[in-house]
């Protein structure tokens, strides 16, 4: 149905695609997986028509396809749902679905007709949202499904989804999958791009792996194991999962949070982190975990409670203040909260240290040497320290934000989703960095939605739910089921 034939694309010296050939059969749910930089995005951009291949063709129903815009794709029956959720927050649901091809008669908008069709479409997807709701009032999941609805309004035959679950909770993912399953029964072909193995195996029957711009192979989901696919993606065996709780040399308490409350986000939260310890903080979206980290980091003022670093009580009033007390936070969204795209990697790396030290003069020579040292130390792949961060892969961008904070030599490292949207290789490297820091006596508090990651990384897992600490799990007791149970069950002592 959809066939990629020997696609090649280079950006300067970088070969993004080195001859990719594979076909998606009609009615299949086909997964496309690969690390960041494997060429998935380039492939999708070529399919959408925003990039032209240097060589090779795409066949759509056995006819060469040359799209000039996503709009043209929709008209030919190719719907695309993007990771970054391109909706118009200021328009209604109806407005979003019909944006760019509104139904008109003699130039006048047919509001009623569009609303009626939207309602049919929403009912079809079992979405209980109003056609008149503004898109910005919707949850992330609903906005994602809105894009699916938009594609369906064009009667698409193939739906291409690019990492649609990055910002969704498990329940929302379930809903999305139910909708996708329904579409499959109706004969819609799916091309599903993702990092997440469980999702891929849940939804798809065929899996195509790309690595370094080359086609590795297409696998039958039924006859292969997730480990095989990961090995194909990475091109090597992964190091064994580090045994948690083993050989922990706990030092004194470095971070002591006592009954911290910031309504309405969290109440009465007490957490201790020892030197050399990695504490995992797990909770569903809305449990208050990110807000807790940001409050410890001085971005918000708590209503009550106490924060101690070492044995001194601290009251950080800003991130700068927190940094001076030895607290560092690697934020959840590196694009929005972490990186400066107008500044070079060198400045990005050293900003926090310079801001915290309160120095006035910038010494370019010293700065360059320090930045180059950081690149080497954390194995960040960048052409030089003078390039802007958008020329780096997601994993390396994340390492830049991490390295920036490690350069301040903090005593307490707070990490919010440290491996969100990075590839498998970078993920393991980031884990290694965190372990090394802990081993050298830093206290780490890690928030992650990726439960297997948290289980392998953390010595101890604290579970939050609806702004309260729900419990703590260590060693063998810390299993995926136990953590999920705590995170989702009612408060035991509530009544």
């Amino acid at each position: 149905m959809l066939e990629f034939r020997d696609l090649r694309k280079s950006f300067g010296a970088v070969k993004a695609l080195r001859g990719v050939t594979f076909a998606v059969a009609a009615g299949d749910a086909h997964a496309l997986v690969g690390e960041n930089g494997a060429g998935k995005s380039t492939l999708l951009k070529i399919l959408a028509g925003t990039l032209r291949p240097d060589e090779g063709t795409i066949l759509w129903q056995n006819v060469p396809l040359h799209l000039n815009s996503p709009r043209e794709g929709l008209e030919r029956g190719i719907g695309m749902v993007y990771q970054e959720m391109l909706s118009f927050p200021n328009l209604t649901v109806t407005g979003n679905i019909f944006a760019g091809r509104e139904l008109t008669r003699g130039g006048r908008l047919l509001e009623g007709e569009m609303r009626r069709r939207t309602r049919t479409l929403l009912d079809d997807l079992h979405l209980t949202i109003s056609p008149d709701a503004e898109a910005e009032s919707l949850s992330a999941a609903h906005r994602q499904l809105l894009q699916v609805a938009r594609a369906l309004a064009f009667d698409c035959q193939i739906l291409v989804l690019d990492e649609p679950t990055t910002s969704l909770t498990d329940a929302e993912v379930d809903h999305l999958f139910a909708v996708l399953q329904k579409l499959r029964e109706r004969g819609v072909t799916l091309l599903y791009v993702s990092h997440r193995m469980p999702e891929v195996f849940r939804l798809c029957e065929r899996i195509t792996v790309l690595r370094d711009g080359s086609y590795v192979g297409t696998y039958d989901a039924a006859s292969s194991a997730p480990e095989d696919i990961v090995r194909a993606m990475v091109g090597r065996d992964l190091p064994p999962r580090a045994e948690a709780a083993e050989a922990v040399t706990r030092g004194p308490i470095v971070l002591d949070v006592r009954q911290l409350t910031r309504r309405p986000c969290f109440q009465d939260v007490s957490v201790q982190v020892h030197a050399g310890e990695i504490v995992g903080l797990f909770g569903l979206v809305g449990s208050g975990r990110s807000e807790l980290l940001e409050t410890i980091f001085g971005l918000y003022t708590p209503h009550s409670g106490e924060i101690r670093v070492g044995d001194r009580p601290v009251r950080p009033r800003s991130a700068r203040d927190a940094a001076r007390h030895g607290i560092a936070l690697v934020p959840e969204e590196r694009q929005r909260q972490g990186l400066f795209f107008n500044l070079s990697v060198r400045h990005n790396l050293l900003l926090s240290r310079e801001a915290a030290s309160g120095g006035t003069l910038v010494r370019p020579g010293q700065e360059r040497a320090d930045a180059e040292h950081l690149l080497r130390e954390w194995r960040i792949k960048a052409a030089s320290v003078d390039v802007p961060p958008d020329s780096l892969s997601g994993g390396n961008q994340q390492k830049v934000v991490l390295a920036r904070w490690l350069a301040t030599a903090p005593r307490v490292l707070l990490l919010d989703e440290p491996t969100k949207g990075v590839d498998v290789g970078a993920k393991f490297e980031i884990h290694e960095i965190v372990r090394r820091q802990a081993a050298s006596g830093m206290g780490c508090l890690v928030v992650s939605s990726d439960l297997p990651e948290l289980l392998s990384l953390a010595h101890r897992i604290v579970v939050m739910r609806e702004g309260r600490i729900q419990g703590e799990l260590t060693g063998d007791a810390a299993t995926e089921e136990a953590v999920m149970h705590l995170a989702t069950s009612e408060l035991r002592d509530a009544s």
Partner: protein
Amino acid sequence: MRKLWHLRELSTVAILLIEILFFGWYLWPDGNRPHPFLNLPNALLILKYSSIYGIAAVGAAIVIISGGIDLAPGAVIALAGVVCGGLFVEAGWPLGAAMAAGLLMGVASGVLTSVLIVAVQLPPFIASLGVMGIARGAAFIITEGRYFDLSALLVGGWRPMGIPADWVAPIVMILLAVVFQILMTRFQWGRSVFAIGGNETAALFSGIAVGPVKTSVYVLSGLLAAVAGVVLAVVQGQGKADLATGYELDIIASAVVGGASLSGGRGSVMGAVLGTLIFGVLRNALPQIPGATFYDRLIVGLVVIVIVVADQLLLRRSSTS
């Protein structure tokens, strides 16, 4: 920002040189008459009149790099001039004290703008639009239609520290341009301004003191506009409430022509000052072309568009290669 002199500033210098060469050729006189454009007194005249814009453009460039905008400079120039002139001429204050009072007006305007932006969280456009009205209004209330003639009291060739009065404005402009160019490129404070303009949320998360830095940026913009106003008052010898009307847009245009991006995070102080010289040369030379008098605003407008479009094309090329 690796070098103090960036490629972008060199291209602004190139535009300025091309402009000067063009007018030098176009206005070449017949016979042995002196050149009406290429002569030393005229060069000094251009510098003198451009420096009022140039001094304020230093502040405007910094505001724009921080991702904001300041519409108040024109009004603050008038207010500072009027306060300085009024105190000197009518209240009989010593010149130094009157000048200091004028500068204080600029600081006050800047503080008000920054409070509205940082504490009240108004968009910079709205906050500075309001302050622009307040400053201009205050100038009119103070003067009640009069104008203060400082030149009558500054007779006998006023020479601060032995410098001829005509040279004061250009020297102040060049000094300020150099000082702030260095502050923006070599100091932690300047780095923070670029960071805030590039990504304010990330700046907050990176431990940059976003509030204090933004406050300093707007206070500085007010202060520098007041410097321009005070210099204008002493050099031209007059304080008038309707002086410098519409300067704010010329100043912003100069900063943009000098490489500043209105979306923040990009630009340079030196470029903005060079930008005011580009406009200064235009304003000086165009009236000397017979019949061009009525075209000068139009040509200035076209020049802004051409330079910025050329800049974007250049930028696009360098970022894709």
